[in-house]
């Protein structure tokens, strides 16, 4: 069984034909070749695959592509405004919130969603809010700093 799929990804209308068992992350990485979204586990715990689906952060490895028919998806590739990094991306650079970079796309997407719900997050809010994202490199301290700074910058820039 193949299903014709159409959705908006990073503002672009995209179509494809997929088997129902195709995960959203497989559609993004393998069909659309948007390889910024990563896969780090098979039990939907690491969060490397987090994207925004209709504005909400979701694990694209625990979502079927066919469930996203007609939806709008934002991946890490769609976050920056041209050459200008999104304030959250910039904050991760400013505060050394990444090392190997593999968890980073998911971490940034989760952080963007976190700030949407909690505009001025405390240290504890951020640590709790990132419970769905694993990072093995940073020990999280600089990620927490980055998200705090990113949240402030998102306000200044009018919501990012």
């Amino acid at each position: 069984m193949s299903i014709a799929l159409s959705m908006t990804v990073n503002g672009q209308h995209v179509t494809g034909t997929v088997e129902p068992r195709t995960l959203l992350v497989e559609f993004l990485r393998e069909t659309l070749r948007l390889t910024g979204t990563h896969v780090g586990c098979d039990t939907s715990q690491c969060g490397a695959c987090v994207v925004l689906l209709d504005g909400c952060s979701v694990k694209s490895c625990a979502t079927l592509a066919v469930q996203c028919q007609g939806a709008s998806v934002t991946t890490i590739e769609g976050l920056a405004n041209g050459a200008t990094l999104h304030p959250m991306q910039q904050a991760f650079n400013d505060h050394h919130g990444l090392q190997c970079g593999f968890c980073t796309p998911g971490m940034v997407m989760s952080a963007v969603d976190l700030v949407r719900h909690t505009p001025d997050p405390s240290d504890a809010d951020i640590r709790k809010g990132l419970e769905g994202n694993l990072c093995r490199c940073t020990g999280y301290q600089n990620i927490v700093r980055a998200v705090q700074a990113g949240a402030r910058a998102m306000h200044t820039s009018g919501g990012g």
Partner: protein, 797 residues
């Protein structure tokens, strides 16, 4: 070092590599799609130990999309070899270690859950997995042994029929007679049995490998998640596939964390490379996380008995250690050296203990191979020492800080030869201890303890004073200890004609930020802007033969190689400048990126010299070659010895057993620091992994060798909420024997933190009578320890 207006060394320059990672433009192995590629899925044993009676790939070939099924027999038929071990340990009595064969695909026997018996190649991932499930393997299950203490028992199932008693080696170090004499005369002896828990490294990027074959010239390309592509090429070509290395290119592109687990040459790398030629198409394999749990080399897994002898004044007079180390089912690339040369040689710690004797017996079990994981041997040594020292302090009713102080090697005693082979070049242990005590507000701990008690919580504090041997090299020492390769590092520095610089390094960055740190060193020394420096790593067709990144060696060894190459660039540049400025070579000075004739205003910038080097019209060709491109191989004179003090404070909830780390203070002496931001980040990450080991992570096998913690549902990784805000500082005694003065910082956090955390928990639980707790100190373990301590008390009531 050259003073320039743009000096960056010692400053927290933001990372240049971040831009691609933050925009989704990193390029990791699984991101690559080759035209015509097939996907590989391995058929893996569900049994820890079984005879393989038959492998039938025919049913898989009937699945749509399946291209080929290849087995161990297919490899053997072509004379493919086994995966080698790079370090030979010679045991007691000159007996060399046992090295049973490790075929990339199992032949007649599987020895661990996850052992691969066949590989299925298919048009897509789903079909490959469908095919792998369809392969019919006839197994005859055999008894298995998973735990190292069980493997040592008489009559234990044998992992390899020709390895009696499962013993890989039985090795010792130190002076037994001296140690025994010290114990005979001791005023006090502290004894401790402990387990260093088995860990699964869990870099967030799963391993992946992409093999390609070009029939036009008979060349192969392997793209792989590796920390050391040249080492992989050497091992795979020379020992496994028998390929000429000039026909093999190994590329390690962006790699999503390693922590040791991506040092080793894995079966899948050889299989995809071989299979690519076999089917004439690129072959790609990416582990899913369950596969990573089963097949990435695990870490630690020691069972140890230790005794510390003290005199009446609290001086350490002797240390005796007996350790059983689990090697898993096969010897991985560096497995043998981890519990010996990276462990027992560190048992002096920061102390003047005059007599040390350690015995290490390494055993095979029916489990995943165990090899280096962040710290590799040094966390095991530190955990043992810092637990037993703390225990001795409690037994003697001494302040744990004072007991340590009393035994520290003093600054005026360097270089210091320990009784276990290493010679420390420099250090100031009391400086780190004092700074850590200040920063942690050690003196007013009682106030915080009282505040915790008011909330119904128990508060405890623990110390750990660690030392590690880093910058792994030097080749002569490593060779004397059994390494089968020199552990130097290589670099090439190429001045381009318009003054930009390309640096080719044998080190590999998979999170460490070399593209920034190395560029800082180059920019400062050559006087060019950082933006004009490119660091190239990870591709054997571009970089000189180098040993890669592990053992906190990149800066101390790889960075020093770059410095040496730059020294040659400056020397050559001086010759060119002297020629162009019509001055004597001895009169030309280099500083701030310019060559100047001393005492004159005549000068040339590095860029001008570089340009002339490539467009020479009047060089005296008998004495001055064109070009400005130099290589260096740097082999250090000694290890480096980072050291420091960590102080941990925990709160324990006695009702649930939950431990929360309330305060963690780290003071490290890494020698000279190039980029404090990056170094601090390394410590943050290392401490988080140490916290994981102490509180959360424990790889568990059942007695039949089934992996009980095979996913993130059961193997607890540290998350943001598990980690406190760290307090952090440096002290500095520069390394005495490398041109950067740098010691290495990648592993310290993972080495120093577990004993500080466990010591703190035991301090908290002391009022309840708890004397020991095993890692990981999960809520269940802590709650159980409290119940067990209360039980005899209740019985006495």
């Amino acid at each position: 070092m050259t003073e320039t207006a743009t000096r960056t060394v010692g400053t927290s320059v933001k990372r240049t590599e971040d831009a691609r990672f933050l925009t989704g433009r990193g390029r990791y192995t699984d991101d690559l799609h080759r035209p015509g590629q097939v996907h590989a899925c391995f058929v893996r044993s569900p049994h820890a130990h079984a005879r393989v009676l038959d492998v039938d790939g025919a049913p898989a070939m009937a699945i749509p999309g399946v291209v080929a099924v290849l087995t161990g027999a297919d490899m053997a038929a072509e004379g493919i070899g086994g995966l080698p071990c790079g370090w030979q340990v010679i045991g007691k009595g000159g007996v060399p270690m046992q090295e049973p064969p490790h075929p990339p695909l199992a032949l007649d026997r599987v020895r661990t859950v996850g052992d691969a018996v066949a590989v299925v190649l298919a048009e897509n991932r789903h079909a490959a997995r469908d095919g792998a499930e369809a392969v019919v393997v006839d197994y005859d299950p055999l008894p298995a042994v998973a735990h190292v203490a069980d493997a040592a028992r008489p009559g234990a199932p044998l992992v390899h029929d020709d390895v009696p008693g499962n013993v890989c080696y039985d090795w010792d170090i130190g002076d037994k007679a001296a140690a025994d004499a010290a114990f005979a005369g001791a005023a006090h002896v502290t004894r401790l049995d402990l387990v260093n828990n088995r860990l699964i490294p869990n870099a967030v990027e799963p391993r992946a490998a992409l093999g390609e074959y070009d029939p036009a010239d008979g060349s192969y390309t392997l793209t792989t998640t590796s920390q050391n592509p040249h080492v992989i090429r050497l091992l795979m070509c020379a020992f496994v596939l028998n390929l000429p290395e000039h026909k093999v290119r190994v590329v390690a592109p962006d790699v999503g964390g390693g922590f040791g687990s991506k040092i080793f040459h894995y079966a899948e790398e050889a299989v995809v490379t071989w299979a690519a030629a076999k089917v004439g198409r690129p072959v790609k394999w990416t582990a899913d996380r369950s596969e990573s749990f089963m097949t990435d080399c695990h870490g630690r897994d020691h069972v140890t008995t230790a005794e510390l002898a003290l005199d009446a004044e609290g001086h350490f007079v002797g240390l005796r250690v007996r350790t059983l180390a689990n090697m898993g089912a096969y010897l991985s690339t560096f497995a043998s050296c981890v519990p010996t040369y990276l462990y027992a040689t560190l048992l002096a710690g920061q102390y003047r203990t005059p007599a040390i004797y350690a015995e290490v017996k390494a055993l095979f079990t029916h489990t995943t191979p165990v090899d280096a994981y962040r710290g590799a041997g040094r966390p095991e040594a530190t955990y043992l020492l810092e637990r037993i020292v703390e225990k001795a302090a409690h037994e003697l009713d001494m302040d744990p800080a004072d007991l340590r102080r009393r035994n520290f090697i003093q600054p005026d005693q360097f270089p210091y030869q320990t009784p276990v082979a290493l010679a420390y070049d420099t250090g100031d242990y009391e400086a780190s201890l004092n700074r850590a005590l200040d920063l942690s507000e050690y003196a007013i701990f009682a106030e915080r303890r009282a505040a915790s008690e008011a909330k119904g919580k128990l508060r405890g504090r623990g110390l750990s004073c660690y030392i590690e041997a880093c910058g792994i090299a030097p080749s002569a020492v490593a060779g004397a200890l059994g390494a089968r390769a020199g552990l130097y590092e290589a670099a090439e520095v190429r001045m381009n004609p318009t003054g930009s610089v390309t640096v080719f390094t044998g080190s590999h960055s998979h999170g460490q930020g070399h593209e920034t740190t190395f560029a800082q060193i180059v920019a400062d020394r050559l006087g060019v802007p950082m933006a004009n420096v490119e660091i190239v790593h990870g591709d054997t067709s571009r970089i000189p033969f180098g040993m890669g990144t592990y053992g906190s060696r990149s800066l101390a060894v790889g960075g020093s190689a770059i410095v040496r190459a730059m020294d040659k660039i400056i020397d050559k540049g001086r010759k060119i400048a002297a020629h162009m400025l019509e001055a004597g070579e001895g009169d030309v000075e280099f500083s701030d990126g310019a060559f100047r004739v001393a005492g004159t205003d005549r000068s040339l910038t590095m860029g001008e010299v570089a340009f002339q080097a490539y467009v020479p019209h009047n060089f005296p060709h008998d004495t001055l070659e064109p070009g400005l491109d130099e290589s260096a191989f740097y082999d250090p004179a000694n290890f480096t010895f980072p050291a420091g003090t960590y102080v941990c404070e925990v709160e324990v909830d006695p009702d649930t057993g939950r431990v929360s780390v309330e305060r963690f203070t780290a003071v490290d002496d890494f020698g000279t620091i190039i980029n404090p931001m990056i170094v601090e980040g390394q410590v943050h990450g290392g401490v988080a992994q140490g916290l994981g080991q102490a509180l959360l992570e424990g790889c568990a096998y059942d007695d039949d060798g089934q992996l009980m913690t095979g996913s993130y549902m059961d193997y607890a990784m540290p998350r943001a909420a598990d980690i406190p805000d760290y307090r952090f500082d440096f002290t500095c005694t520069p390394c005495t024997h490398n041109p950067l003065g740098a010691k290495g910082c990648g592993e310290a956090g993972a080495i120093g933190s577990p004993p500080a955390i466990i010591n703190a928990i035991l301090d908290a639980l002391e009022p309840l009578g708890v004397e020991d707790i095993a890692m990981p100190a999960t809520p269940l373990a802590v709650w159980q320890a409290i119940q067990d301590a209360r039980a005899p008390a209740r019985a006495a009531e």
